[in-house]
């Protein structure tokens, strides 16, 4: 089945220790998104790629970076995780012409100790 895969599903990192979350897709969609979702809150868009074009949200901290080496893969790098970065991180994809229909991965639950 075509899908969006996120690895790992659970990630524990130490305060200040860099961490990378990964997302891959077999849908061949050209748009990929990263959302942060804290408990009982709305998913909040961090950034998205339109093909290779990177689009950062204005309020996304500099601590969060992303890479998209090819159509299938996208990475979220947190350079120095703080306790406030503990959250569920959701990756999603969409076709360029149907960005309202986003296909989500299962998410990575990040814990910062």
């Amino acid at each position: 089945d075509a899908m969006v895969i996120q690895n790992p599903r659970y990630q524990v990192t130490q305060f200040g220790k860099p961490v990378t979350l990964s997302c891959s897709q077999t849908l061949n969609h050209n748009v990929m998104y990263w959302y942060q979702q804290k408990s009982s809150q709305a998913p909040k868009l961090l950034f998205h790629y339109y093909d290779k074009d990177f689009n950062n949200e204005a309020d996304t901290p500099d601590n969060f970076q992303s890479r998209r080496p090819n159509t299938s893969f996208c990475f979220l790098d947190i350079r120095s995780p703080g306790l406030g970065d503990a959250a569920m991180y959701l990756c999603a994809t969409s076709r360029a012409g149907k960005t309202y229909e986003q296909y989500f991965g299962p998410g990575t639950r990040l814990t910062v100790t």
Binding site: V4, P43, T99, Y100, E101, Q102, G105
Partner: protein, 110 residues
Amino acid sequence: AQRVTQPEKLLSVFKGAPVELKCNYSYSGSPELFWYVQYSRQRLQLLLRHISRESIKGFTADLNKGETSFHLKKPFAQEEDSAMYYCALRFMEYGNKLVFGAGTILRVKS
């Protein structure tokens, strides 16, 4: 700032009862509204969009621009409707991105 408000964190109804999940938005232009759903142990997925005016799994939603609302309704709840429901807004000035509400858990009791 454009926002989506879902006033109820949890809505609990009995099987066969009507369901209304509330969504209000703040945007002065012409919005596009959507409902997304996440069933237990499944991914977040699109349920319906206002522009298509369709019924999906018995759910409908009407955009009321006067009240800036997009409530999700179903006349007779089923146990399999139990899930987390998110309302989402898309508007021109924000490109093709979605703004989500915080979600409402729907529990349908037997």
